[in-house]
């Protein structure tokens, strides 16, 4: 059974769509790198049952990304946020060194606070 490296990342976005049992098997397999036999032992499911559960979970996760595209969107969001941070830094540098405007400084602080919030929302 070939491992699909995308699965681990998709778990962060769509893990909630799996049943507890499905999530358990697929996390053992992808996050903890256990063998099918080890997972069977840990969960009390047959080896074939573990394999089926993982396969079914993979299908759910891949279909969710195909339909909702959250992982792809999230990458684009992160890229844009990084660009914004970079340019805020430039403005901040200029302001600190040359203009020393309190109003600009205050606005920069508020923007940085919102950027942190955006990061946090996107991350979970």
């Amino acid at each position: 059974m070939a491992k699909n490296l995308e699965i681990s990342a998709l778990l962060d976005y769509y893990g909630m769509l799996l049943t507890d049992k499905q999530r358990e098997t697929v996390e053992y397999y992808y996050d903890d790198d256990l063998s099918l036999g080890e997972i069977a032992e840990n969960t009390g499911i047959s080896r074939q049952g573990v394999r089926d559960s993982i396969k079914r979970s993979e299908t759910i996760l891949l279909e969710a990304e195909e339909k909702l595209g959250l992982m792809k969107k999230s990458e684009r969001l992160k890229n844009s946020l990084e660009q914004i941070r970079r340019n805020i830094d430039i403005i901040d540098g200029k302001n600190m060194k040359i203009y020393r405007s309190d109003i600009i400084n205050e606005s920069i602080k508020k923007i940085l606070k919102e950027l942190d919030k955006l990061d946090e929302i996107i991350m979970n």
Copy 2:
């Protein structure tokens, strides 16, 4: 059958999770405000079939939001983006009137471009 006003909004986020037939019935009902009888006529499904399809779709949409929370997240993202825009405007105003820095001006333009991208990603 009581209409749940949240459903129309949830369709924008999770419509892809429905089958074509489910999406069709629920859009007729919530977006076009057709009666069950009218939808039955349009789709060739029985009135009871239409009702079942809408109920099932509502369950799928509400569960998706409960599990993934995209609508709630999206509202929070929009709020933060609005705050950032507001503060960029303040910086822009100050810069235009007083400091006239080309470097700041250029960074503001880049940030506004990224904010537009973020809006677009969030909106669809």
